[in-house]
């Protein structure tokens, strides 16, 4: 609930929330992977 409220996607429609979550988790995965490779 806090995640929905702080990002503001609480007010979005479900399909918009899916887009946002997909994008966010893709970016986070990329950052983690690249950091791992880099380190």
């Amino acid at each position: 609930y806090q995640y929905l409220l702080i990002t503001g996607i609480y007010v979005l429609e479900p399909w918009e929330q899916s887009i946002f979550n997909t994008l966010l988790f893709t970016m986070v995965a990329m950052v983690i992977y690249t950091s791992y490779v880099f380190v």
Binding site: L4, L5, I6, G8, Y10, V11, L12, E13, E16
Partner: protein, 502 residues
């Protein structure tokens, strides 16, 4: 940051006002939230543009495309893409008197608030923390309602003429005498609409060659009245006496731009209570400044009349000042008298001037008599002229409810804005999603609240605004406070870093 200004002669009572700063992390997360919603707003507009999504909001037809746009597309961006998503928290239909508790018509939406349907059910006995009903006169029983009912039967409701023609009745004159004696000034004039009392009368008081010094958070009716008056308008920081004195000094020293002629008139426009901030005007200092620089003072007591002061006579009474120091006393009957309309009071020559020059007196139909009766009865009750102490006890109870409610909220850790004695209590929410969530969660628990967000407030100062009433019993307030605390924990709203020691 607390301002406890008790500088000697000026203030007869402690003046404690606090506007705690937005925590930096919360501010950054708030911008992020608005940024994300704006990006999705652009996405949705793109889809509407390419007809991928049906556009619900009004738009020009194809044939109108070459004309001047009727619907300023970008100006509705927020309405279309942010407000629509959470607008079930606003404009809720009620089906009872807006008293301490009221009944809400339940409604639902299948298309994310673009359209609503009534479910046929009524949400009963919702505790009303949203309406302006400071002294609890918004009720459909009691002396006021009875008196208004009798007048309705006897005189009807319509006033088909203006004050300068046939619409001037003895009840109006009785009301104006009562208002004048209530405020302790020579004369008063009543108008049928609160907003118009400002916007139609300021142009009759100031014009070309005059200077209007206006607080930056003044109500839209004051802004409109100042603009219509064609005076020069300068804005000073909210309730900031240094800023006001600087403008006054510049005005006196430099006079009018280019010609440097002295201003014909300098009118200071302020409000008694700023309902969005919950702050009270520093009236002793404003009066000291106006005397020092020979300016006129226009005091809008829309929220403070009836709600402040040991006798309910507004912010002048609250600070124990002389009403004659305020040149133009304005106020409305909407918030504390359970009625509608407004008044302007002051010296007799001022009121006589307005009777002949005010737009409302010439063009607007005068106040409907049942409304006049409601005001007369409630005002007599406040003054104790009805032989009871109901008015006094309500004023007392409102003051106690206010101090109690504010203290409890602060103890819980919420950030509360404004003055300790102001019956309007803004509680900060900050993030855009929490505005809608707070309104919904509170209604789920049978509490009706008002939430306000950008652009009506600064982008990082979205808030809920509680309006305390004398009609609220302690049980209601405790119930409301428990629910606010529960929802505050759920939504993580207890941001205050100034934890109050219990």
């Amino acid at each position: 940051v607390y301002h406890a200004a008790c500088n000697g002669a000026l203030y007869s009572r402690p003046f404690i006002e606090s506007f705690e700063e937005t925590p930096m992390l919360v501010a950054v997360l708030t911008y992020m939230g608005y940024g994300i919603l704006t990006i999705f707003g652009y996405l949705r507009d793109f889809m509407r543009e390419w007809k991928i999504e049906k556009c619900h909001i009004a738009r020009e037809r194809e044939e109108q495309k070459d004309f001047v746009p009727l619907y300023q597309d970008f100006e509705n961006f927020y309405t279309r893409n942010l407000y629509m998503r959470i607008r079930d928290s606003w404009n809720r239909p009620i089906c009872s008197a807006p008293g301490a508790t009221f009944d809400l018509v339940e409604r639902s939406s299948n298309d994310y608030n673009w359209t609503f349907e009534y479910t046929g059910r009524v949400v009963k006995d919702v505790i009303n923390l949203g309406s302006y009903n400071y002294l609890g006169f918004a009720e459909n029983t009691g002396a006021c309602a009875t008196a208004a009912g009798e007048v309705t039967v006897k005189f009807g409701v319509g006033m088909a003429s203006t004050r300068q023609e046939m619409g001037n009745l003895d009840r109006h004159e009785e009301l104006e005498k009562l208002v004048a004696s209530f405020l302790g000034v020579e004369s008063a004039m009543a108008f049928g609409m609160g907003f118009a009392t400002n916007s139609m009368n300021i142009p009759a008081l100031a014009g070309k060659g005059c200077l209007i010094l206006s607080d930056e958070l003044n109500h839209a009716s004051l802004v409109l009245g100042a603009r219509l008056s064609t005076s020069t308008i300068r804005v000073f920081k909210h309730n900031n006496m240094q800023s006001l004195e600087k403008l006054l000094r510049d005005a006196i020293v430099h006079g009018q731009p280019r010609t440097h002629q002295p201003w014909k008139k300098i009118l200071i426009l302020v409000e008694g209570i700023y309902s969005m901030e919950g702050s009270i005007i520093r009236l002793p200092e404003v009066i000291a400044l106006k005397k020092k620089y020979k300016a006129y003072l226009y005091l809008d007591e829309a929220h403070s009349i009836g709600a402040l002061g040991p006798y309910g006579r507004g912010v002048v009474d609250y600070f124990g000042l002389d009403p004659k120091d305020v040149d133009v006393m304005m106020g409305t009957f909407t918030k504390s008298f359970g009625a509608a309309g407004g008044y302007i009071a002051g010296r007799k020559d001022l009121i006589d001037h307005l009777r002949t020059h005010s737009h409302s007196a010439i063009y607007a139909t005068s106040m409907s008599l049942p409304v006049v009766e409601q005001i007369i009865t409630s005002m007599k009750c406040i003054m104790g002229k009805d032989g009871t102490t109901i008015g006094r006890s309500r004023i007392q109870r409102l003051a106690e409810n206010t101090v109690y409610f504010r203290r409890r909220l602060r103890e819980m850790g919420f950030i509360i804005y404004g003055n300790n004695d102001s019956p309007v209590v803004p509680m900060m929410l900050y993030m855009p999603a929490k505005i809608g969530a707070f309104g919904r969660e509170m209604l789920k628990r049978n509490i009706g609240v008002v939430v306000v967000g950008f652009p009506a407030t600064p982008i990082i100062e979205s808030r809920a605004r509680f309006c305390i009433s004398a009609a609220h019993t302690k049980e209601m307030l405790d119930r409301a406070l428990d629910v606010i605390s529960e929802v505050g924990d759920l939504l993580q709203l207890k941001y205050s870093q100034h934890k109050v020691l219990l």
